[in-house]
């Protein structure tokens, strides 16, 4: 389980402290169905990590445990050494866990700028009374929030769209806006759920550079869920593969590329035509 990024960090031996995020022996059951079975997972600081697996492997379920939509049946989730297993999603978001959605979930009838400003909620202080009175402090705060929202839009490359309703943006721009909105939370970990879905090859190759830029500029870790192998193989420092709720492999892209179990999971066990056709 040792990766380069992990070895670089000042190891204390406790995975909860060494890593930004540590999911410790997570099991999730829905009734009798085991969606995720005893999966442990770490995200070291400043790492770009991917979670892959065939459809129904439990990726999204696992993702939802990290973001707090589901509570795991067993296991613990640590963010920066703190146990967040029982903490509500919005508190986790404020603590530095930001995500995007597989099928874009922007606030369609709000402008791009407002979308980003919504995610600043935990960092703004104005209450009902100061907002109604529009005190100098509240006005300053709003102005600063607006400015940094515009900076973020600029940063993700949709600088002139601040006044546009989110639903009117093009597909690619909506994806970018989702990332800008997530970054407004000032996250420690950025979770991207199939970020290149619907992007053309050129866009997705630019996306690689973008992810590294975000990581380096902000010093955050990035976790991706992806189907697109070409993206995953180029971008990830470490890949974790899930299949039928269990972790079947973990390692560098090269390890994964040559891992027999992974190939079987993706393409059918014996590699017969029948098995492959169904994957």
């Amino acid at each position: 389980m040792t990766t380069t990024a992990e070895a670089d960090s000042r190891a204390t031996g406790d995975p909860a402290v060494d890593n930004v995020l540590y999911a410790d022996h997570i099991t999730i059951k829905f009734g009798g169905l085991v969606a995720v079975n005893d999966v442990s997972f770490t995200i070291p600081p400043r790492a770009v990590i991917s979670l892959i697996g065939p459809n129904g492997a439990g990726k999204t379920t696992f993702f939802n445990v990290i973001t707090g939509l589901y509570e795991p049946t067993e296991g613990t989730v640590f963010l920066d050494g703190e146990d967040i297993t029982a903490i509500k999603p919005h508190v986790r978001a404020a603590m530095g866990l930001a995500r995007t959605f597989q099928n874009i979930r922007l606030f369609g009838l709000m402008t791009a700028e407002e979308n980003v400003m919504v995610a600043m909620y935990p960092h703004l202080k104005a209450g009902i009374i100061t907002t109604i009175l529009r005190t100098p402090g509240q006005r300053r705060e709003e102005r600063e929030a607006r400015d940094s929202a515009r900076e973020l839009l600029q940063y993700v490359g949709i600088g002139r769209t601040e006044g546009e309703l989110a639903r009117n943006l093009s597909y690619g721009d909506q994806r970018r806006l989702e990332i800008a909105r997530a970054l407004a939370l000032r996250p420690k970990v950025l979770l991207l759920d199939e970020p290149t879905a619907g992007m053309n090859p050129q866009e997705s190759s630019q996306f690689n550079e973008f992810v590294y830029r975000v990581r380096d500029d902000r010093g955050i870790s990035v976790l991706l869920i992806e189907h697109d192998m070409s993206v995953i193989m180029k971008i990830s420092e470490r890949i974790t593969v899930l299949d039928r709720g269990a972790m079947i492999a973990e390692g560098t892209p090269d390890d994964i590329r040559n891992n027999q179990t992974v190939i079987e999971a993706y393409l059918g066990k014996t590699g017969t035509r029948e098995g492959r056709r169904h994957k």
């Binding site: 009838l109 919504v118 006044g163 597909y171």
Partner: protein, 452 residues
């Protein structure tokens, strides 16, 4: 209010064109209120009867006051329904509690002997607290009730919340119906209700010729336009200001996508509760205004489910989320209910010799229902819609359309691929996954095996 979103100037961060649109509307509102006051106070009494009787019959002063009172209610419900997107079918509960607060603090309900007077013009026995203070107290009490009711129920979504609020509205009415014996205690006189509730005292304004108390006679009623206009102005101001800030954005986000909002750090229950509390605060003020300035009494029969629906209609007809639309919706519907239908009946009788004047007002809910159906058919977004809702109703969602197209092509490609699947194609698909060296190897191994 045609303000194209694209042209929002970048140089003025805090004042977009939307705000200046609001300023125009606000100035217009002030002008209308002062205009109405001057018209009824100074101009009409000096005109010939044939002219001023038209005004007095089509738009009596009492109707204006009622319209203003309903505007307060509609603005309050607009915060809950229009801003935060929480369907509340029991809004009448806050109106009732506001009214009864006025009953408790501005009257002598239980043959009280004591004489407590706080900045009030009334000196008879009973509790008599200043109208403005009671407005604040009732508002706070309703906000508190809103939070108590909301804390368990606001975790529910959509339809379930609507049902619970519907039940809650009924519970409050029943409570006041049976309030003559709550565990042996007379809380609010039961069916009889509380009367007479103090009129609005005018305090220092007596010096400038305003009557000491604003009673329900034509002369004093005119001053109520100013008082109620001020209350509506307060609600407008709060509605508009709160919309622009952190909380307003959180409400909009919740209305758009609850799950995404919570993932972006918006505490759902807290944000919804504050929407509920602000709405309830307005409802309390509306209740006091109604009890003190319009009816002068409260009784449970006035707080039926129909009133909740009426307020909701005002919000929906006017244009959910847009305070100016909601105002117009409130004015239109309460005018129809109060003087409009009767007068339309009288007019039709005049022209055609029918006798509708007495019956038309009785069919008010049928007429409002037809109006609503027509609105939903031809102008779903309301009379003066919020720009966002208008976009929703009138233009297709770009992503949805594109995604739909993409889905269709993707599915077609997939099924074609499956139909024409053979070894070569399998290899191609594998190649797209960048696993081809291994697959090719495996394929070869397999073929060798089968050959053997």
């Amino acid at each position: 209010m045609a303000t194209p979103t694209l042209s929002r100037p970048t140089s003025t961060p805090s004042k977009g064109p939307r705000l200046s649109g609001n300023t125009v509307w606000a100035l217009g509102y002030v002008a209308v209120i002062i205009g109405l006051f001057l018209l009824y106070q100074l101009l009409l009494p000096n005109l010939v009867d044939s002219v001023n009787s038209v005004f007095y019959s089509w738009l009596p002063v009492s109707t204006i006051n009622e319209c203003l009172m309903w505007a307060i209610m509609a603005l309050g419900l607009n915060v809950v329904v229009g801003y935060a997107g929480l369907l509340d079918l029991g809004y009448v509960a806050f109106w009732a509690l506001g009214g009864y607060t006025a009953g408790w603090l501005m009257a002598a309900p239980f043959n009280w002997e004591w004489d407590f007077s706080l900045m009030s013009a009334v000196t008879t026995p009973g509790t008599h607290i200043n109208f403005w203070l009671v407005c604040i107290i009732a508002g706070c009490l309703c906000a508190l009730l809103g939070i108590i009711i909301g804390a368990p129920t606001l975790r529910l979504r959509g339809d379930y919340l609507a049902l619970v609020t519907l039940g809650f509205g009924e519970v409050i009415t029943q409570f006041f119906k049976n309030s003559n014996d709550i565990a042996g205690l007379n809380v609010a006189n039961g069916d009889g209700g509380i009367s007479i509730i103090d009129p609005i005292g005018t305090g220092p304004f007596v010096v400038v010729g305003v009557p000491q108390k604003l009673l329900n006679n034509t002369a004093d009623n005119v001053y109520k336009i100013l008082v109620l206009g001020l209350l509506v102005g307060f609600c407008l101001f709060v509605s508009l200001r709160i919309r622009e800030g952190r909380l307003g954005r959180a409400w909009l986000a919740i209305r758009e996508d609850e799950l995404a909002a919570s993932m972006m750090g918006v505490p759902l229950v807290k944000a919804k509760l504050s929407a509920y509390a602000v709405g309830a605060f307005f409802g309390g003020i509306g209740g006091v205004a109604n009890a003190s300035a319009i009816t002068g009494a409260v009784s449970p029969s006035g707080f039926d489910f129909g009133k909740s629906v009426l307020v909701l209609l005002m919000v929906v007809l006017g244009g959910m989320g847009n305070v100016w639309g909601v105002m117009i919706g409130a004015f239109l519907l309460s005018w129809l209910n109060s003087a409009g239908l009767t007068q339309i009946g009288v007019q039709i009788d005049d022209w055609f010799g029918t006798s509708l004047a007495g019956t038309l007002p009785r069919y008010n809910y049928i007429i409002l229902g037809v109006l609503l159906v027509l609105m939903m058919l031809f102008r779903r977004e309301g009379l003066i819609p919020e720009k966002r809702t208008k976009a929703l109703m009138n233009t297709p969602n770009r992503t949805e359309m594109e995604a739909l197209g993409a889905d269709i092509t993707e599915a077609e490609e997939e099924s074609e691929a499956i139909a024409a699947s053979d070894a070569a194609q399998d290899a191609e698909i594998a190649a797209s996954a960048e696993l081809n060296p291994v697959i090719a190897e495996q394929d070869e191994r397999e073929r060798n095996e089968s050959d053997r």
